[in-house]
Symmetry: C2
Subunit: 706 residues, 2 copies
């Protein structure tokens, strides 16, 4: 569907206009991008949506360390416009088909004072927003260069309401603060809650994806796409003028990027709409990533799993086999240590999980704490903690391989790197081979704690490079990856679809560490999930953690049915039922929804959504005539208006509705729920009450009697 001939002609026409402002619009004309040079020869852009300002005139450029900066003195030496329209199918996803349709403006700039050095800026305007990036062509005057800072501005048109996390080089595990932009500075201190590894950088620094809502009703999301071998972009706000500017993650000596031409920056993205739901269904970030680089993707499949995990998170059992200290791998003789009696990952206990998974149709069982070294590394930034292949004495790898295989269940490997990425890379091939030999085809990796070598950050170029290395090496062994505490995603799972999911936000685990805010899950789809799937690990039915560990007074800040709804609202092709089998066995009627719900989809519809308040979504199961609906609310009870107009017309369906009980609320009565069925068709509109931080989940199947 590309129309190159026409556009090259158009490009040549525009060439003659070099030096003037350039304008392109989205295919539907709603979005208009203007590019111009200011009087200093600095590139600028502005963006409107239906004639409303989205980005006011904003500067572009990069400050370099060793060569003259890409900041000013530019002239336009060429501009080319083109259009692109294709539809592609992700290996797994929220939609079977994704349309990638944009108009492109490629501006070639020349710095005369720097020996006519060239810089390209490529803009792509979609119906749902803008992507642009810097491109550094191969040329005589540019080879290696070091980025001191990227100065990409996003000038906001007002004091928007923002859903923000403190800007940090090492963690995204913060509750979202909701405030006007002008209030960020005042609320920053309270927003920066403790984390085992954290490095904030500015009283007005925030992370992306950043979700905003303007007073004139625009929903605006800022993020980046295709972050490859470059530092993560945070945003620093000039809160007098409401201008965000890119703030890259530095390395140990303060540099922010080591580049060699030809190369390019990641895409900077602005998703915009007057409907909140359009943000949730935007595929702009994926469209800006490359098609998959893998020839064979047949081994990449969605996974629904349970795991030996929540019991450790709650403190009911332990990752560690002993309570010993001074553990040194290769020196410590575990056979001489006294077991602590609380170790979770024992052969017998894992078999119980395998039995439960097999009985209830789960694909896999995650097992953490299976390998030696867990006793005393936490928070120590220790270089050599794990070897990724040596099990504790009570974990029989061969026997569990045999047993799981006999039950048709996979075990998911766990690699906690302890932040020691060199140690991980040294063991990576051996660890992956060990997985293949023992029947594992997926790994959950972790990057807890400060990075080694010290001074490097989780979101710096050095680590960004590592995370992708771990994924592409895994692909050589046909291993799927679920990386926790790594960089937040930027759509790379389009290109590398064995990157199944990331954590990269406050996940369910925080419900056992003091709790997530009731609005948390109404925000994450607008922020964290813009870049890719999150392994949030929903499905906690036992919302009082003290039931597992009397010392733990935390509780889950949702109702039970809101947990069910998350399987629809929190997309991931890798989806956990995180609670313990002993608990699910007590709630088998509600658990039925988790057993039924799909993890891969043909299509997705947002029925209602407002960031921070509520989300109601429907999805059609991949290749099946089954639909699932999830509706959630924040601390405010509400009545969701659930339409079914995505159902094929003229047919009847049976909906099974899992809803909060009348007396339900997340803080007082979270486990009150009702289950009912009703007939629905495409015309049905259901008014469904949701409790305080409550939710509803609906499964819809064909009415075979009708």
């Amino acid at each position: 569907m590309r129309k190159p001939q026409l556009l090259i002609f158009l490009g040549l026409l525009l060439c003659a206009m070099a030096g003037k402002a350039q304008t392109i619009t989205s295919p539907n004309k709603n979005i208009v991008l203007k590019f111009a040079l200011n009087d200093k020869g600095t590139p600028t852009y502005e963006l409107t949506y239906k004639n409303k300002p989205v980005i006011k005139t904003s500067k572009l450029g990069l400050e370099t360390k060793d060569v003259p900066s890409f900041i000013e003195g530019f002239t336009i030496s060429d501009t080319r416009q083109s259009t692109f329209d294709e539809t592609w199918s992700p290996v797994m996803g929220e939609q079977k088909n994704i349309r990638n349709h944009y108009n492109e403006l490629l501006v070639t700039l020349t710095q005369k004072a720097v020996d006519n050095r060239m810089l390209n800026i490529r803009f792509r305007v979609f119906d749902d927003g803008l992507g642009f990036r810097y491109e550094f062509p191969s040329q005589k005057n540019l080879n290696y260069f070091i980025i001191k800072e990227e100065h990409t501005q996003f000038a906001m048109a007002g004091d928007h309401k923002a859903f923000w996390l403190p800007g940090d080089f090492d963690t995204q595990e913060y509750n979202t603060t909701t405030s006007n932009l002008s209030e960020i500075r005042g609320k920053m201190k309270a927003a920066v809650t403790p984390n085992v590894s954290q490095t904030t950088f500015s009283p007005t620094g925030v992370q992306t994806p950043l979700m905003m809502k303007s007073k004139d009703g625009l929903y605006i999301n800022l993020h980046e796409a295709a972050l490859v071998d470059y530092s993560c972009m945070s945003l620093n706000l000039d809160d007098k003028n409401m201008v965000f500017e890119s703030f890259l993650t530095p390395d140990a000596i303060g540099d922010k990027g080591y580049m060699q031409a030809p190369t390019q920056s990641p895409w900077r993205t602005v998703i915009v709409s007057d409907k909140a739901g359009d943000i949730l269904t935007s595929k702009l970030v994926y469209n800006l990533n490359e098609p998959t680089k893998y020839k064979d993707v047949s081994w990449i499949k969605p996974v629904k799993y349970i795991g030996v995990w929540w019991e450790m998170i709650t403190g009911k059992s332990t990752w560690a086999y002993t309570d010993a200290e001074n553990i040194q791998l290769g020196v410590t003789d575990y056979s001489k240590l006294k077991p602590n009696g609380k170790h979770g990952a024992t052969t017998e206990h894992v078999k119980e999980y395998i039995d439960f998974a097999a009985k209830n149709g789960f694909d896999a069982v995650l097992v953490e704490g299976w390998n030696v070294g867990w006793e005393d590394w936490f928070g120590k930034t220790k270089d050599y903690v794990f070897d990724f292949v040596t099990p504790y004495p009570d974990f029989d790898v061969k026997e569990l391989h045999r047993y799981a295989e006999s039950k048709g269940v996979k075990i998911i490997m766990h690699h906690e790197t302890s932040g020691s990425v060199r140690n991980y890379e040294r063991h990576l091939d051996t660890a992956y081979k060990f997985m293949v030999e023992n029947g594992y085809n997926a790994v959950k990796s972790g990057y807890v704690g400060n990075m080694i070598p010290r001074g490097e950050h989780h979101y710096g170029q050095w680590l960004v490079n590592h995370y992708l290395y771990a994924v592409t090496q895994a692909a050589k062994y046909k291993i799927m990856v679920n990386a926790h505490e790594a960089i937040r995603p930027t759509g790379l799972n389009r290109t590398y679809p064995n990157l199944m999911a990331n954590e990269a936000a406050r996940g369910m685990e925080y419900e056992s560490f003091g709790g997530n805010n009731p609005d948390h899950l109404t925000i994450l789809p607008f922020t964290r999930q813009i870049g890719g799937p999150m392994d949030y690990t929903p499905g906690i039915f036992q919302t009082k953690i003290s039931a597992y560990n009397p010392q733990n007074t935390s509780f889950v800040h949702t109702t039970l049915t809101k947990q069910l709804a998350l399987y629809v609202t929190m997309y991931s092709p890798l989806q956990m039922a995180a609670d313990l089998p002993e608990t699910y066995n007590k709630f088998m009627d509600a658990f039925q929804f988790i057993k039924d719900v799909a993890v891969d989809w043909d299509d997705t519809w947002v029925i209602e959504a407002e960031p921070g308040d509520y989300i109601t979504m429907a999805r059609k199961a991949k290749g099946k005539n089954e639909w699932y609906v999830g509706a959630i609310t924040d601390e405010n009870p509400r009545t969701a208006t659930i339409k079914f107009d995505y159902l094929p017309k003229g047919k009847n369906y049976i909906a099974t509705i899992y809803a909060d009980g009348k007396d339900a609320s997340y803080d007082k009565n979270p486990q009150s729920y009702t289950i009912r069925t009703m007939k629905v068709n495409s015309k049905t509109v259901l008014k469904q009450w949701l409790a305080s931080s409550g939710g509803a989940a609906i499964s819809i199947k064909e009415d075979t009697k009708n």
Copy 2:
């Protein structure tokens, strides 16, 4: 030969004296160590040699970052003395048998104010000096800790003459400055010559091994032994009091060591004698290292080699295949690039080297510049330069494997890491496997340029860990390692004998980069070589570099026969004949010495030596009745007095003497030499004139006619 019973009894006796000063002597009583706590409870020691002060009262201790420091408030809770006497045989070396004989004092100190935390200091007093280290026992009050600085003092007894290099975290490639200690500050600026990676730290900072000579005739050498997973120690001089203090190499955030008990520091060493030659024959550093950890060492063998190397060093040919820039591995298509016509490592040219090696009895041919990526990485601290397995289009790996094998010659692999150790480690196993598959059993590795990740230094703990990792991984593939630009050795080749040699000083290559000082080679055996073999790469006969590259005005700062003598004075089990075959073919008579000389030895004798002035040594070839003598001098001509009293008594031998011509001098007539034979026996004393920066080399074989 250990006498544990007696010594435990002695230990118990001494126990009662806790708190008092402790004294132990060397087995021959010449050296006396006194240990005491000062009035603040800080450990101190002093050392004498034949009643002359070597180290005046000096403090010991470590400053830590996260736990209370190991500085003061100590009491002595236990002391134990023991003795040890054994003789061991290195896999390769200067002597067939090495005696390890010392008296040991183990002091257990307790810090009452730190919950009775314990620190051990272990002293070993040999006839040739002292080794001591800090030991951190496993205990309840000590697990992880971070070293901010080690404060080990070496209080000199006077303003000694010192042979020093500027203290630096990244390079040892300096000419030695000879001055009194008090003059270091004034001479520092001139001493710090440019290097592609260098980080000095103090106007009175110097490196170890540090050689000194006192006004009362003592030769004193300070260094360290068994540097494993710890930062390299430099020395910082308090030049008012002539007190050196340890100065460790920091990481990117300024920390100097990440430790977990039980652990220990490297040994700090003081070699002392009133004879300079005793410094050269000291095996104290090796004795403080552990016996080999390898069960099978049969694959580790001495190597005499030539190489496609000096022609690139001089600029006659190039490592790179093209003159292109913007090279990106996996992107650049070399088949489309124009060769520069000067590439050294071509199949045909390497075959010429193989032919020469086979004809002249060399074991191996080093080939640098065989693999893609050499064009434009230098000095750029680029992350991904080399993959270590992809040859240039004109280097046929398989054909050269076949050809070399047919000639009974090995090719030595070359791995330039470009300082990107993560990239090297990612490729390490693949690269070693590639070597095994293609018949390579030895690798020269290089660490040119600043380290990646930036902020880490060549001599920090992070890299110290890497260098040993590369060696131990190589051992798994039975590969010998010759690491350049890595840390200077500390005797680890005893434990890991496949660490054949290091560069870690200004090698021969600097003769092509402006030159080494004429006294350079009379100093290196007293400094650099105290820790282990150096791959100096002697044997340059064409001393005018312009003969190879008209643009290069450098010249070798020795005579031709001094080059021969280096094969004796510069010990290495991996010894190169560095010049080009075309040159050796012109000097086959002199080249005969290089063909004959051994690279592994039964025994070694220092006949005359004075650091900075001259060295005359004799060695007996391993397992043969052949002896080789090398005599060198600095810029001053001299007459060496060469004894032969190490020859078996009562037998006659034929000595072939390669000597400077009468008119020879390094700067005016370096290629003037004579070769003569004479009969010698154990009583012979030869007066042999040496030219300015000249030398003499003698091979001694049995007189079969007699």
